[in-house]
């Protein structure tokens, strides 16, 4: 490319490689395979691209050359550039060398979903949509409602009726059409897929899903940039549909291709909850595809019983020497506490899953002493308060010094 930019080429089927124009389309007509955006990176010079990124905005738009746009879109609520925190106290507790926490709760609506929604919403507007919608386990609901409000678009948000109250309230406040469906997330997803045929709306994770999922690559870019343009040795990522897990690795692969970083794709460890572990189960059984399950776990943000990118998540974990592990609800609660007590980061249940799997890997001896590990914390603890309710004691005293010394300092816990 004469202008030194990459070119967004087409949508391509991940199964049969058939190509399609860059429109609102998510399934291959020939084989029903998922479509993905493909680029021509041959026009990118590594040094020039690095300078451009470093001079770019403090948001995912600094990586616009790796996103499906010809020029940087205008967005009212940007996402990304969240902190990457070195977690020495956590590493010490786990008996491993070096751990970093990528805290994606530090996004506008407190989860990584702001990345994918920023991209999907910008593409929806470019394609001329006036209404956006989504099927959500909660975090996406918050994000779509907020970004639609900021952009002045009408929105419809579909959630399972049994969602955590915090996630329901943090969606409705933005003035969306909030639709609680009597069913599981997979029922909600099926309903939205059917509706996408009949409504001229951009369903961010249905008909514009190929663009939406590109937003998750920015987590990989940020990790590499924040580590000083280096790759970690291992990344632990929660798995719901498997899209985030596979796209973080895709981000690393693209930067390796362009020459922005050197080395190889890190070991990729996926994290699921026992109560919804179709991908972990297929991994353990050495199967190429997942058998759907009916979720029953406190990690509702990961409660997808029929994961769309399951086969690709399995392939990635195996190809990089990683694993996909599942942990119990009790381990999830302990994971939330472990992260909070050692890093000051309070995460939701999905982050509890990630931290618990990191602990599992450490205890199992999977993590070498020289390894640099990154754990991706995808959401905020204030959204799943039930998970920590009753997990600690509170002193109740009278407003007198004597009451304090007797009750607090005199208690066995304080001594």
């Amino acid at each position: 490319m004469e202008d030194g930019r990459c070119r967004v080429e087409a949508l391509e089927c991940k199964e049969c490689r058939a190509r399609y124009a860059l429109e609102a389309r998510f399934v291959c007509d020939n084989c029903f395979g998922p479509l993905e955006v493909v680029y021509d990176f041959s026009g990118l010079d590594a040094a020039e691209t690095r300078r451009k990124i470093q001079a770019g905005p403090q948001s995912i738009w600094r990586y616009v050359d790796f996103l499906p746009f010809e020029r940087q879109p205008q967005t009212a609520l940007a996402a990304g550039m969240t902190p990457l925190i070195r977690a020495d106290r956590l590493a010490e507790r786990l008996g491993i060398g070096e751990v970093w926490i990528k805290n994606d709760a530090a996004n506008p609506t407190h989860s990584f979903k702001d990345r994918v929604v920023t991209v999907a919403m910008a593409k929806a507007r470019e394609l001329g949509y006036e209404v956006v919608a989504c099927a959500s386990t909660g975090n996406l609901a918050n994000s779509v409602a907020a970004h639609a409000a900021a952009a002045g678009l009408e929105s419809y948000v579909f959630i399972p009726a049994d969602l955590e109250e915090q996630k329901v309230l943090a969606t409705g406040v933005y003035g969306t059409h909030l639709v609680a469906v009597n069913g599981s997330y997979d029922d909600v997803n099926r309903l939205c897929t059917e509706l996408s045929f009949e409504r001229d709306w951009a369903f961010v994770n249905v008909n514009v899903r190929p663009y939406y999922s590109e937003g998750s690559k920015t987590l990989g870019y940020e990790i590499a940039e924040q580590l000083g343009w280096e790759l970690p040795d291992r990344v632990v990522v929660p798995i719901a549909s498997g899209s985030l897990f596979t796209k973080i690795a895709r981000g690393f692969e693209e930067w390796l291709e362009v020459g922005l970083i050197e080395g190889e794709v890190p070991v990729m460890n996926g994290a699921q909850a026992d109560g919804c572990s179709p991908v972990a189960r297929a991994f353990a059984d050495d199967k190429p595809v997942c058998k759907p399950v009916r979720p029953d776990t406190i990690a509702k943000s990961l409660a997808i019983g029929d994961p769309a990118d399951g086969p690709y998540a399995l392939e990635l974990a195996r190809r990089t020497g990683g694993t996909i592990d599942a942990v119990s609800d009790e381990e999830i609660r302990q994971g939330i506490k472990l992260l909070a007590e050692t890093t000051g980061v309070f995460t939701e249940t999905a982050g509890g899953v990630t931290t618990a799997v990191l602990k599992r890997l450490a205890e199992r001896g999977d993590i070498g002493p020289e390894e640099r590990v990154v754990a991706v914390i995808t959401g905020e603890g204030l959204k799943t308060l039930d998970a920590v309710r009753g997990s600690f004691e509170t002193y109740e005293i009278e407003p007198r010094v004597s009451s304090f010394t007797e009750t607090v300092e005199g208690s066995p816990v304080a001594a």
Partner: protein, 91 residues
């Protein structure tokens, strides 16, 4: 005896644009699909392979994923609704 089948947008090119059709004389999901394959050229290649469904094709009977039932052997009754959908949405 009649089963209603809902056709996703992605298959309407081979069903002459029809979004819904009826199949008579079928007692299982497999027989319903066979009925459709006979009727519509090009449909089988798009959604089936090796005697089963392609891995990104989901089929539901009365809203229930047939993988929770008996797969292609799942029985269907008069008035049932069978839905064919792409599996790659969501998350």
């Amino acid at each position: 005896m009649s089963i209603t089948v809902k056709i996703p947008t992605q298959l309407r090119a081979v069903t002459s644009g029809e979004a819904e059709t009826d199949v008579e004389q079928a007692s299982t999901v497999g027989e319903v699909l066979d009925g459709l394959y006979d009727r519509y050229d090009g449909l089988r290649e798009r959604i089936a392979e090796d005697g089963g469904l392609r891995r990104f094709v989901n089929v539901y009977v009365q809203g229930e994923d047939i993988r929770f039932l008996d797969g292609l052997d799942t029985t269907v009754e008069d008035g049932d609704e069978v839905t064919i959908l792409p599996a790659v949405a969501g998350g």
